[in-house]
Amino acid sequence: MPDRDQTTLVDLQLAAAGLDPGPVERAALHAMHAAFAPGIDALYALPAARYEVPALVFDPRTPAPEW
């Protein structure tokens, strides 16, 4: 069961994204956030990631035409 702070946080995040799901789907998102929160913290706690470079590469050259 997500605590009240987490519930408030999720509601704020959804509002910031402009989303307004109904109560059943909102509750599912609250539960999903509660389930994921420890996993997210674990990503930051991974020692090997402390000085790792993210898997993001920016190429300054002009991109080829889009498809």
């Binding site: 995040q13 994204a17 997210i40 990503l43 090997a48 898997a55 498809w67």
Partner: protein, 482 residues
């Protein structure tokens, strides 16, 4: 397994390469193959929901062209004259791409071919039609929407897996000899496992994604589903290679992906077996039984077998989920805001979860992916291939999927790790459970070593026949050859 393998009704060869051989020998024509495939669709598709749209007239015209070219001595390769299905998140000039969605702009890609479809066409393949998926390749099928719900040919009360649902079911039931799927978290490999066919997710960047509706920009892989590992290798050869319009595509050599498949021996191949994270307590007991038999078969073929554990497994799965949902949210946010009710509930719920992660969380997920890549790279200096089951259970019933949404399925599959790290992975059938539902063996290799996967899969399929089993719904079909 080197002789042509007819379907039980004798209408057509069962595998792509058998069909290609028959076409070259002149014992069958592309028009005959295509008519047989269309007739199968006439007979079965109301129950299977493979197609969103069929291109019968265009396919027959394409088949006639292939036959005429062959009569003139033109041979475009093994796909020349072969009917194939294309998942309906890829553009094809014949019709609109729906992404199985009421929200998707029907003008998107109108009149154009995705790079992969254009390559298939250049290889002489016959595009039979567009196949079913889940909305935007995520979530769960929704019977309330005006799109066919795909069903599993082995038990039509069950789901074929997703999101390349129609392609997997269509190959299994013989509606086409091979097809295109896409895989962001298992969407080629799960339908392959649930439908008892072979599916190959190539290395990220091996096949250009241009002309494909994106789900996770850094996780999407386009690849084949077919009857055999060699079929998948031949198909991949036609679609692989860089394209300027997809900056994530890689300029790696494209050779014969089945070049190492001769002989069947796996002498010198080191197989790592991952049991640590792949046998949940509530799994189907047949999964462990069939997996151990498959590992034994690989050993009997000459491979050395060692126990391994995938590094940073839990963190990598979390990183993959954050990445996929954030990337999907970026693409769909404005439509979710404006047209929430038009989305399928399972799709909108999954994508909306991308709003719950911060920008820092997304970047941290990309750092963890690098960590996992490094550790996995070190692990794979000691093994060449890693074997796991594809899923802990067989295909769920459609009712389970409708009721439980996507999460009920994702909890039972073991595919997402490989999307996070980008390595290629292949699924080959490894048997059936007590209810007669297919099970899949997943094999993963180092980046751009798809040829090794084809070699290992082909060797395994040389000593087993799970991949040649045909679901009863297709076996009972009357001869329809022209």
């Amino acid at each position: 397994m080197s002789q042509p393998t007819p379907t039980p009704d004798g209408a057509a060869p069962l595998t792509l390469l058998d069909a290609a051989r028959a076409l070259r020998e002149g014992s069958v024509t592309s028009v005959q193959l295509t008519r047989a495939a269309l007739a199968r669709a006439d007979a079965l598709d109301e129950r299977l929901g493979v197609y969103l749209e069929r291109f019968d007239a265009e396919a027959l015209a394409s088949a006639r062209r292939a036959d005429a070219e062959r009569a003139d001595g033109v041979d475009r390769g093994p796909l020349h004259g072969i009917p194939v299905g294309v998942k309906d998140i890829l553009a094809a000039a014949e019709g609109a791409t729906t992404a199985q969605s009421l929200v998707h702009d029907p003008a998107w890609g109108s009149g154009k071919d995705a790079t992969v479809v254009a390559r298939l066409r250049a290889a002489g393949a016959v595009i039979a039609g567009k196949t079913t998926t889940m909305e935007f390749a995520i979530g769960a099928p929704d019977p309330a929407k005006p799109f066919p719900v795909p069903h599993n040919p082995w038990d039509v009360e069950r789901w074929p897996g997703g999101s390349s649902s129609g392609t997997g079911a269509g190959v299994a039931a013989g509606l086409f000899l091979a097809g295109v799927g896409t895989d962001t978290g298992g969407s080629i490999r799960v339908p392959a496992a649930f439908c008892g066919v072979t599916g190959l997710m190539p290395t990220f960047g091996r096949v250009p994604n241009s002309g494909c509706v994106p789900l996770g920009f850094s996780l999407d892989h386009i690849g084949p589903l077919a009857r055999t590992a060699r079929d998948c290798g031949a198909f991949l050869e036609a679609i692989a290679g860089p394209a300027a319009e997809d900056p994530s595509s890689r300029d790696e050599p494209v050779g014969r992906f089945d070049a190492g498949a001769a002989g069947g021996s796996l002498e010198g191949v080191r197989v790592g077996v991952e049991r640590a994270n792949h046998f949940p307590g509530d799994g189907d007991p047949a999964v462990a039984e069939r997996f151990e038999a498959a590992v034994e078969a690989l050993g009997a073929l000459g491979a050395t077998v060692a126990e391994v554990e995938l590094p940073h497994h839990a963190e990598t799965l979390t990183a993959m989920m954050i990445t996929s949902m954030c990337e999907a949210m970026a693409y769909h946010r404005d439509d979710l805001r404006a047209r929430w009710e038009e989305f399928t509930p399972g799709t909108r719920g999954m994508i909306a979860s991308g709003a719950l992660f911060s920008g820092a969380d997304y970047v941290q997920a990309q750092r963890v992916r690098r960590v996992a890549q490094r550790a996995l790279g070190a692990l794979m200096t000691g093994v060449d291939v890693i074997a796991t089951p594809t899923a802990g259970k067989v295909a769920p019933t459609c009712e389970e999927v409708f009721a439980g949404g996507a999460m009920s399925v994702y909890e039972r599959v073991h595919t997402t790790y490989w999307n996070a790290v980008g390595n290629p992975a292949m699924v080959v059938p490894m048997g059936f459970n007590a209810d007669g539902m297919p099970l899949g063996l997943q094999l993963a290799a180092r980046p751009f070593e798809e040829a090794l996967l084809v070699r290992v899969g082909d060797a395994y399929q040389g000593v087993t026949d799970w991949h040649l089993r045909v679901p009863p719904i297709a076996a009972d079909l009357a001869t329809v050859n022209a």
